[in-house]
Symmetry: C2
Subunit: 146 residues, 2 copies
């Protein structure tokens, strides 16, 4: 399989593949007479892994650390040490993402509230008392608005 075929099969550009090779993320299993890169099927899996991790906001450097250099052998099983390292990175990412998800959920709630407030013709209250339960100048539940 030549580089163009592989690129099409994986949905990436030829340039991207060559760039991955620069970073040691992949490498052609051999070259043709004239110097064309030739790949076998294992390259597709490797690239799929790269794309998956990239979609999860990992940098190519991180991905290199997780998958290891292509020259170290592309196939399973990964070394135990690398797996542990990957797990650490993944857990950090997981933690980070779930925190962001929580923030987003909070933001959404806040936006909903503001929208409600707008619909009920209320305006923000500058001199509110955060300890009081409801607004003291109108029937609004939130002291920040009336």
């Amino acid at each position: 399989m030549t580089i163009g075929t592989l690129a099409k099969a994986c949905g990436v550009t030829v340039r991207a593949l060559r760039y991955y090779e620069e970073l040691q993320l992949i490498c052609a299993t051999q070259r043709s007479e004239g110097g064309y890169r030739l790949y076998d099927a294992s390259a597709q899996k490797r690239i799929a892994a790269i794309l998956t991790l990239q979609d999860l906001n990992y940098s190519l450097d991180d991905i290199l650390e997780i998958l290891g250099k292509a020259s170290d052998g592309n196939s399973l099983p990964l070394k135990a040490q690398r797996i542990e390292r990957s797990r650490t990175l993944l857990e950090r990412q997981h933690q980070c993402l779930s925190e962001k998800l929580a923030s987003l959920t909070a933001l959404q709630a806040d936006l909903s509230k503001r929208l409600t407030v707008l619909e009920t013709q209320c305006t923000p209250c500058e001199t509110h008392n955060p300890d009081a339960g409801a607004c003291q100048t109108c029937e609004h539940q939130d002291t920040h608005w009336h």
Copy 2:
């Protein structure tokens, strides 16, 4: 408050603040005799909002769209139209993040499996049968390994 003080208070660089001003994300409420930017307390809140959204992977352009130009007035309430637009952006982000979280969870599970496999001294099976329940050459539960 001068720009350096504000920067320190918000944990960003002076350069970043000037860059935000370029993008109309913030603006100094006034200038000193000699041309120094002077800010009041509301700037801090505005910058905190910017940082929060930035942490959620929004581009500064998106943030501008969500918060609106600083010159349009920094304070609440946002216009209903802007709120709806923000909600759309947030929901898209929320959707995207939760998908990534799911992928990460799957990856973590996969890593755990590989680690187990390594611990039990098993190796990947190239000629597995995905329909069979367990491995046919050893007692391993997964047909991909033995």
